[in-house]
């Protein structure tokens, strides 16, 4: 067993280590220097394609076919994408292992899940004419640099919306990079362009010159946490500055004439310079260390280190994690280190083990913690075991210790070791695992079709397993060559009774594969009605789709199906389809009212809904430009209903409406006043107000307005006209169908007490008290007194006396005495 520090390298006051992850990665014949290589974050897959700008050995026709190859970090070929779609300008990965291929005409193709078909979109913003120069990717988006130095950003891949950033000045872009939105103060992506001697910072709103003098910068790179920028100057110096360009942290001179081919960050505190087979690792304060390789290498930066890929090996270069350093550093006397020693002594059955424990007794819990954490950082299973054993030993001595971390770590390590296995080829570090989260790790396993492993791990970690089953089923549907019935049967058997399975997704996969019948069969097992709808539409099962949409209660879905349906089938069958479904009918109706009245007319006609049809015409009449058109519409409306006896009142009303307009038009001609638009009562009222009693009367008889109504209208019109003479005349009348009280009330509220009082004696149905009150309201105390006297109401008179004054008082007193006398 080699010593743990064997692969450590001192850089300044820190240690870096190079862990060999895998060997015999690629076919030795592969000339890696001719390939563009890019790796997905969190130790994900690696994509390669041959750089067309480079000369390569002729290997006959077969090899000349261009492909994009996706490998695991261990070199296992996951997928080969044949390529004939134009010049690839950039290749990149998103956080969820979506491969993005950008061609020079600005078309972006996204290959999700390592398996699926691509979804393309275009960058636009002039990408087609100016051509894409290069792209820089971050975890959830990328920025493309076009030939005319404009910069286009894509911030998400679901419904991508390429956004043109502020324009940069012309000039050759020597190097460039992006700061992902999550690390900028503006929360939107910033692009750093090294043009001429300086660097420009471009975001959506503006382009700012950082006025540096030391350019041109051959390379520029941003640290994983977005806080630092490394620049490589023309005179072969490396600068590390803060990402706001305010502070300069360190400088290093490489003393190599040829500029390096790549500059990348290794974690957040070291920069790696790479030439063909030489690596400079530059730590803080300009300290550096050099590594040499046998062959050409590629750098695959990650959040906590950098992977170095050659044809033969895959190495991981990282700063030695603190707990590891604490345990293993030569001459370390830290408690953790002593604890590890104690374990070794124990295994040798030496009593020194106890001495060690006594030595660190005070810090034992800390020692255990460190050992546990150090175990997480180890790639060697042997050392993981040693450290965990040490931790376990230390734990056993402690009286009280919370073992949660220990248990979690053993679980995590079990998972990590499983996925690091070369056939799986995901060399996750512990930090990457925590950042990636177990759920997304499962997704990656599933993408690699490691279903069994994914299931086992999910069960072990208590994660939901439905995604795995669904993915498996989708793959099954895509690749299985057996007949559809048995596929369906197998899938249903395997997935039945599992919670939360989305059959809809499986069915969609079947549909995309052209297996329409299988899709429909699978869809029947989907519990969510709403989810079935879009697919049912695609397979042409519109009426089932409509039923399912109605079942889901989601009117949006129903409407959506209806709109699709209407486009697809003839109107008559459309009506037949909705006819038996009231919800569908009402949705069609309520939407058509706003936008498609003709459709509504057809619908009403087809369903023989005459009242609705007729009303539609009435409402058209209301919005008709002139009365002629309106009358025509009303006629049509009446005609629709005429056949049936049950609508007789409606027909009569429609005819009255026409008659009324005829009358009104005549009045308008005679009286040059506006009458159209008024109701019958309003028309009469207006006529009376204008003094046209005869015409008003004619309207009354013509429209059979009830006598009572007419009287009310007349009364109110006269009062509002203050036609006191006419009202006085009316008080002489013998009979009123509405009684006389309303006359009193209306006239009084118009303020004419004199005329109002004329009506008091006519209100014979009222009580004496009420009449007294009425007189009083007119201010006629004496009259009120007379009323009381007539009724011989002494108390009322006494009351009146209190209110009376002046001559009225005398009157009242006289009446009181009269009443007394009478007794």
């Amino acid at each position: 067993m080699s010593k743990p520090t064997a692969d450590w390298e001192r850089v300044g006051d820190r240690f870096y280590r190079k862990t060999q992850l895998y060997t015999s990665v690629f076919n030795p014949e592969l000339e890696l220097e001719n390939y563009v290589v890019t790796g997905a974050p969190y130790s994900g897959a690696v994509a390669l394609y041959r750089d067309e700008g480079k000369i390569y050995t002729y290997r006959g026709n077969q090899a000349a076919k261009s492909t994009i190859d996706i490998h695991s970090c261990a070199g296992k070929l996951i997928r080969q994408i044949p390529w004939d779609k134009g010049r690839i300008k950039a290749l990149g990965w998103s956080e969820d292992e979506r491969l993005l291929v950008v061609t020079d005409d600005g078309i972006v193709r996204g290959y999700a899940d390592l398996q699926g078909d691509f979804t393309p979109f275009s960058l636009g913003h002039g990408a087609e004419e100016h051509g894409v120069q290069a792209c820089k990717f971050w975890s959830t988006g990328f920025v493309a640099l076009l030939g005319n130095n404009s910069v286009v950003a894509v911030t998400r891949y679901e419904e991508p919306r390429p956004q043109l950033l502020a324009s940069a000045p012309p000039g050759e872009v020597v190097s460039w990079t992006v700061i992902p939105p999550e690390y900028t103060s503006s929360r939107s992506v910033e692009v750093l362009l090294a043009i001429g001697k300086t660097v420009y910072v471009v975001d959506a709103a503006e382009c700012e010159d950082r006025s540096l003098e030391a350019g041109p910068f051959r390379h520029i790179s941003v640290s994983p946490n977005g806080k630092f920028i490394a620049l490589y100057t023309e005179d072969s110096k490396v600068w590390v500055i803060s990402s706001d360009f305010q502070d300069r942290f360190s400088e290093y001179e490489s003393k190599v004439k040829t500029p390096p081919k790549d500059l990348q960050w290794c974690g957040n505190n070291a920069v790696v310079l790479a030439w063909e087979d030489e690596l400079h690792l530059i730590g803080p304060n300009g300290a550096a260390s050099k590594f040499y390789y046998d062959s050409f290498m590629h750098l695959l930066p990650d959040i906590d280190g950098i992977r170095v890929l050659t044809g033969d090996v895959c190495d991981f270069l990282q700063k030695v994690p603190d707990p590891t350093e604490e345990v293993f550093r030569l001459g370390s006397t830290s408690p953790a280190s002593v604890l590890l020693d104690a374990l070794e002594q124990l295994e040798k059955k030496s009593p020194k083990a106890d001495d060690d424990i006594q030595l660190i007794k005070a810090n034992l819990d800390e020692a255990v913690d460190v050992c546990v954490r150090a175990a997480g950082q180890e790639y060697s299973i042997h050392r993981q075991k040693q450290l965990l054993k040490a931790a376990s030993f230390g734990k056993s001595v402690l009286d009280l210790y919370n073992s949660d971390d220990f248990v979690d770590m053993t679980e995590a390590l079990r998972v990590l070791n499983a996925v690091r296995f070369y056939e799986v080829g995901i060399p996750l570090s512990y930090d990457q695992y925590i950042r990636l989260t177990p759920e997304r790790l499962m997704q990656r396993l599933v993408n690699r079709q490691e279903y069994l492993l994914a299931l086992k791990v999910s069960e072990y970690l208590h994660l939901p397993v439905d995604r795995i089953y669904v993915h498996w089923a989708r793959q099954k549907v895509r690749s299985s060559s057996t007949d559809e019935e048995s596929i369906c049967e197998e899938i249903v058997r395997k997935l039945d009774g599992k919670r939360g399975i989305s059959f809809e997704e499986v069915a969609r996969a079947a549909y995309d594969e052209g297996r329409g019948k299988l899709a429909t069969e699978l869809l029947e097992h989907e519990p969510r009605a709403g989810k079935q709808v879009p697919l049912l539409l695609s397979v042409g099962e519109e009426s089932i789709a409509l039923d399912k949409a109605i079942e889901s209660g989601d009117t949006d879905l129903v409407f959506f199906v209806l709109l699709n349906l209407k486009k697809k089938i003839p109107l008559s069958s459309f009506f037949r389809t909705i006819n038996s479904r009231p919800v569908a009918t009402s949705i069609v109706e309520s939407s058509a009212i706003d936008q498609d009245r003709e459709l509504l007319k057809d619908l009403y006609y087809q369903d023989d809904r005459r009242i609705d049809g007729s009303n539609l015409l009435v409402s058209e009449a209301l919005s008709a430009p002139d009365m002629g058109a309106a009358t025509d519409k009303l006629k049509m409306a009446a005609k629709l209903l005429r056949d049936s006896k049950e609508f007789a009142p409606q027909v009569a009303a429609l005819e009255d409406a026409q008659k009324l307009t005829r009358f009104q038009e005549a009045f308008e001609k005679d009286l040059t006043e506006r009458y159209v638009g008024l109701s019958v009562n309003e028309t009469m009222s207006k006529l009376i107000k204008a003094g046209n009693m005869k015409r008003a009367l004619k309207v009354q008889t013509e429209f059979k307005v009830p006598e009572k109504t007419y009287w009310w209208v007349r009364l109110r019109a006269l009062v509002s006209r203050r036609d006191w003479r006419e009202l006085e005349e009316m008080s002489k009348g013998r009979k009123s169908p509405i009684g006389w009280e309303p006359f009193y009330d209306e006239i009084l509220s118009a303020g004419n007490t004199k005329i109002a009082s004329l009506y008091i004696p006519k209100c014979t149905t009222l009580t004496v008290g009420e009449r007294i009150e009425m007189w009083l309201k007119c201010g006629m105390v004496a009259k009120a007194g007379e009323e009381a006297l007539k009724a011989k109401d002494r108390n009322a008179l006494e009351e009146l006396r209190k209110q009376a004054s002046g001559p009225a008082l005398l009157d009242v007193e006289r009446m009181i005495t009269q009443l007394q006398k009478g007794r």
Binding site: G500, P534, F559, F560, S586, P649, W712
Partner: protein, 665 residues
């Protein structure tokens, strides 16, 4: 107040905060300055939880209403905020985008925020207009808007016309989604009770969503809680009671007689605000009422002033729910108290500490005084309205109908009111009230009324009358319909046996005040009529109270009603139209349910009941439910939370039906 109690269970502040946060996050995502185009009905809802000044801090430069193509192109960023489930609105948004794009010289960035969600139809419509690729589309999942700590409303303005007139179940779906949201947060409603066909639809939808939730939750990686347990019954919420508006139209039609109800009748209250002529309030604007209204920078006409009506007011919470008849003394008492406070300050021999304590109270004192001034003016204006002779007549007719006495005077009165040109909505309310209370009006009489309505108000109301018939509000009485027909069956009654229900549930109470002049029954909100909807709630929660009321009322002694749910009142429910809902929800995992209960450490069981109105609730009903809630709280520490699709009043009901167009205009 009862409201503050309820808020402990359902944290309405959280809902408000979340809505605000979500909106501001969406706005922040659009970099730089932007113009905000907002659907008018949403504007005042948004105004309930975020101020205009806050929007400005988030880069909103100008605000426009989504109407008649008024959007200007002064900013590169244009953000639309509109309802995505309304095709008409979606079309307007699409047209606006197209218009701005073709007219403006700059290259605009469009963002559309759909409320409450992005719909398939909205995608389709945008696509048809060729603008789908132009706009950045996001969604704001705005569901319940807490109007008060105990009132959650969806504030769907068109919900009544959608549900009742157009029979479009969209509001039910929206309600189900929102209630599902509550279930996700607080656990399953252990029992769902309800009355009415729409209540049934809603509860069915809730059950369906629950089963679908299992699938949804497990495909959502962030939702670990649900995946591990599934939903368990709530330990805080006891019942969900769903009342379908269709079950109880009369309550919605009758004139509300509480202060808040009358404010609504006279001035219309929407989203906790009302607009009144500034001449009514007098000149000096009170500082407390103005700042909340910042959402609409468009200058309101000089003569109108907005008044904020919610529990942030000093005085309003005390007076909103009282019967208007008692408002005078209440205001008077407050005025006297304020006056005596004032005299205290002017008292000559005050120590500095006295003064200090007074000064600290000064702001609240001033606020109260301002509020008193406003409410006195408003009350005065209302009393002008209530003292009018027609109002008295209308009320008389209403009460006769509600009591259920077969007076022949009713029809005469109605005819006279029509002849006197009483406003149409009022007349329609009366006619509908009669129709709904007696399951239709005899055909001959109905035709006669219709004729008079048409003659008095215009023939365009042919449409109005058809709409009312469609809504089931004004229908001819059919001999073969309803409770008289034994075949009409058990599943859903077509009509309500009002006489039976009135007697069994004591819908009319003659004395609503006890000896001390305090209200003793919910019937006070309509001065005698106890709303059926609230009685139904009482039939679940206050069985013994209803029992004593029935015995006191001299009704035939019914079987003792105890137990949970509808038990004891099945006979009444069978005679009310619409389906009856009674569902018990259990958790998938009984262990988890137990665990949850133990974790809560709550031995007494859940105590909150949510009363949800499908199709809208009136202020009078809210007042009555608060009254019930207060009694419940005093008796057993239980409380009520009211949920609704929106607020409704008789005026709004009539307004839905009324045809606005006239001939030749």
């Amino acid at each position: 107040m009862a409201a503050s109690q309820a808020s402990q269970v359902i944290n309405t502040q959280d809902i408000t905060d979340k809505s605000r946060r979500d909106l501001l996050l969406l706005l922040e995502a659009v970099r730089g300055k932007k113009n905000l185009v907002i659907e008018k009905s949403l504007a005042s809802i948004i105004g309930l939880f975020v101020k205009f000044s806050t929007l400005q801090e988030y880069g909103v430069d100008k605000l426009f209403f989504l109407e008649n193509h008024n959007v200007d192109s002064s900013q590169r960023n244009i953000v639309f905020l509109a309802r995505g489930d309304n095709a008409r609105v979606v079309r307007t948004v699409a047209e606006q985008i197209r218009l701005v794009r073709s007219e403006s010289k700059i290259d605009h960035d469009f963002t559309v925020i759909w409320v409450p969600r992005r719909t398939l139809v909205s995608n389709l419509v945008l696509e048809e207009h060729g603008v789908l690729g132009e706009a950045n589309i996001t969604e704001l999942d705005l569901q319940f808007v807490p109007l008060e700590p105990d009132v959650l409303s969806l504030e769907l303005e068109d919900c009544f016309s959608d549900l009742i007139l157009r029979k479009d179940p969209t509001p039910i779906f929206a309600a189900a989604r929102s209630l599902m949201g509550l279930q996700k947060q607080y656990g399953l409603f252990p029992r769902i009770l309800g009355k009415g066909d729409n209540a049934k639809k809603l509860s069915d939808l809730l059950l369906r969503m629950r089963s679908e939730e299992d699938v949804n939750a497990s495909s959502d990686p962030s939702n670990t809680y649900l995946t591990s347990f599934g939903l368990t019954p709530s330990s805080t919420i006891e019942n969900l009671i769903i009342i379908d508006r269709e079950v109880d139209f009369p309550t919605a039609l009758a004139t509300q007689l509480t202060y808040e109800g009358l404010l609504d009748e006279v001035f219309s209250v929407s989203h906790n605000q009302t607009e009144v002529d500034s001449s009514i309030l007098g000149s000096a604007p009170a500082p407390s009422t103005q700042p909340q209204n910042g959402t609409s920078p468009a200058p309101t006409t000089a003569t109108k002033r907005k008044v904020q009506l919610d529990s942030s007011d000093k005085l309003y919470p005390e007076i909103r729910n009282v019967n208007f008849a008692t408002i005078g003394p209440l205001l008077n008492r407050t005025a006297k108290r304020l006056q005596s406070d004032q005299q205290n300050i002017h008292a000559p021999n005050q120590s500095i500490s006295d003064l200090k304590s007074f000064v600290s109270k000064l702001p609240s004192y001033q606020a109260e005084q301002a509020s008193l001034k406003i409410h006195t003016s408003l009350a005065e204006e209302i009393s002008k309205f209530t003292k009018a002779e027609t109002f008295r007549r209308v009320l008389e007719v209403e009460q006769t109908l509600l009591i259920g006495s077969e007076g022949s005077t009713v029809h005469e009165n109605i005819e006279e009111l029509i002849a006197r040109d009483t406003p149409l909505p009022t007349m329609l309310r009366l006619l509908c009230l009669e129709s709904t209370l007696s399951n239709g009006i005899r055909l001959r009489e109905l035709d006669n009324f219709k004729r008079q309505i048409l003659q008095a108000y215009g023939y365009q109301h042919l449409l109005t009358l058809t709409s009312l018939q469609k809504m089931g509000l004004l229908v001819p009485r059919e001999a073969n319909r309803g409770y008289l027909n034994p075949i009409a069956g058990s599943a859903g009654m077509g009509a309500t046996d009002w006489n039976f229900v009135r007697q069994r549930l004591q819908l009319w109470v003659d004395e609503v005040e006890d000896e001390a002049g305090k209200d003793k029954d919910i019937a006070y909100v309509f001065s005698g009529y106890a709303p059926l909807s609230v009685r139904l709630v009482q039939a679940i929660l206050q069985k013994s109270y209803l029992q004593t009321l029935a015995t006191a009322g001299g009704a035939a002694v019914a079987p003792a009603a105890t137990g949970a749910g509808w038990k004891g009142y099945d006979d009444v429910l069978a005679r009310i139209k619409g389906a009856t809902v009674d569902v018990v929800q259990k958790g998938n995992d009984t262990d988890a349910s137990h665990a949850r209960k133990t974790l809560r450490g709550n031995k007494e069981g859940p105590k909150t009941t949510i009363v949800f109105f499908v199709g809208g609730v009136t202020f009078a009903e809210i007042a009555a439910l608060r009254f019930v809630g207060k009694q419940l709280e005093e008796a057993s520490g239980r409380n009520l939370v009211i949920g609704t699709t929106g607020l409704i009043s008789g005026k709004r009901v009539a307004d839905v039906a009324i045809e606005k167009g006239t001939f030749g205009s």
